[in-house]
């Protein structure tokens, strides 16, 4: 009996704790939140930011941490530059992917792979916050102490094989993306945290080369 009471208390506490961490938005809140995000993302012409990426896999003692700089320019130019612990640059522009791996350069067409095109759109959308497409995703919105959170479940079966869910955490004040979590499975996700964001500063096209 004692154990039962303990378990009940434990689970009640646990449920409350989870609830306090993350609360589903009401329909009105969701509509207001999505409107704010859309308005902000429409104004983004360019973006530069530092990022830190954490690859989590349950069987590892520690997440794999890599970091660098990211540039985005409307409508579809994107550069990820890993600087630590290795130099690796990947550029998405004009339907091409350009790579510089410690000095070794290569290029490929995005067009040749439908799934890559979708991933490309998803990465750009994650960064700019322009991902609220109800045709592509089942979207639900939550609020936590620090962020407004949108959870997107891909409808496309091919994309879903790679990414089960995308979680975008938005700053409550300026409605820009602070964190992206790409959930691959129950044991496995990639979290990207942005820092030192600069919006709509002049970003030269020459940045987007490998």
């Amino acid at each position: 009996m004692k154990i039962k009471t303990f378990l009940l208390a434990f689970f009640t506490l646990f449920t409350v704790a989870t609830y306090a961490q993350e609360q589903k938005m009401t329909d009105n809140e969701t509509a207001a939140f999505r409107q704010s995000v859309n308005a902000v993302s429409k104004k983004i012409q360019s973006l530069s930011t530092d990022f830190t990426q954490f690859k989590h896999m349950d069987f590892l003692a520690k997440d794999i941490e890599t970091s660098g700089k990211m540039y985005f320019k409307e409508p579809d130019k994107l550069l990820w530059q890993y600087k630590k612990p290795y130099n690796y640059t990947i550029v998405f522009k004009n339907g091409k992917i350009l790579i510089n791996d410690e000095g070794n350069k290569s290029a490929m067409d995005v067009g040749s792979s439908k799934i890559f095109a979708k991933l490309n759109k998803l990465i750009i959308g994650s960064v700019s916050g322009n991902l609220f497409d109800d045709k592509e995703f089942i979207i639900s919105c939550f609020k936590t102490k620090d962020f407004n959170v949108a959870k997107l479940i891909p409808k496309d079966a091919a994309l879903k094989k790679y990414i089960r869910q995308i979680e975008l955490s938005f700053d409550k004040q300026d409605h820009t993306v602070e964190q992206v979590r790409l959930v691959e499975s129950a044991e496995d996700y990639t979290k990207i945290v942005f820092k030192n964001k600069v919006q709509n500063a002049k970003v030269d096209d020459s940045v987007f080369t490998n």
Partner: protein, 212 residues
């Protein structure tokens, strides 16, 4: 003149055969030695607490691929092996032991039996810990321990000066198939590793990176 052509051809053929067989002889330049130890433990992937994380470049028939290679010892006999892109997307996820392997996941593009068999053979060679030594040789700088691997052989090159495992040659009776070379500062952890195939154009280079 006519008469001498055939012996000449035969001699050329003989020389050619000799050259070819010398070139691929797995124990060329090795002298036989007395067995100094009956077993050998390979050190590099043996710690179950360590996350072994490497930036990895694969070169296969002129195509280049890169990503992050992760190994973790998950039991006495098995390792978990995961290869992801730099973005973190998982490309393959295996559990491998000497006798078994299980594919936890693999992306469609890589899901080919021949490729999986090749990678499993490579990973086994990389991760195998225990060897029973059948013969021993001397290469000058290294003690070379020979262990049977099914119908094939593994030659383990152990440096005479510092006891480090520097190379594993995987061979048939006549030919070298794969070589794995290690560079390690402390003989516990390998900072860089290269797997080179000789029967197919495949090379995999691993460079350890320190997690921040």
């Amino acid at each position: 003149m006519q008469k001498s052509t055939i012996p000449f051809l035969l001699t050329s053929l003989f020389v050619l055969v000799l050259l070819v067989s010398c070139g691929s002889d797995p124990v060329k330049n090795l002298t036989s030695a007395a067995i100094s130890q009956s077993t050998y433990k390979a050190p590099y992937f043996s710690d179950s607490k360590t996350d072994y994380v490497y930036k990895t470049n694969i070169s296969v028939y002129g195509n280049e691929m890169s990503g992050i290679f992760v190994v973790k010892r998950i039991s006495k006999t098995a390792h978990r092996v995961v290869f992801t892109t730099e973005f973190g997307n998982k490309l393959l996820d295996f559990e491998i032991s000497e006798k078994d392997f299980k594919v936890n996941s693999i992306v469609e593009e890589l899901d080919r039996k021949m490729l999986i068999d090749t990678l499993v053979e490579d990973f086994r060679l990389l991760l195998r810990e225990n060897y029973t030594i059948a013969q021993q040789f001397d290469s000058g700088n290294s003690n070379v321990l020979q262990a049977r691997d099914g119908r094939n052989f593994n030659y383990l090159f152990v440096s005479k000066t510092d006891g480090k495992l520097t190379e594993i040659r995987h061979t048939t009776k006549r030919k070298q198939k794969i070589s794995v070379t290690f560079s390690s500062e402390n003989n516990i952890f390998a900072e860089s590793i290269t797997i080179q195939h000789y029967n197919i154009r495949l090379k995999i280079a691993f460079n350890h990176f320190k997690n921040q």
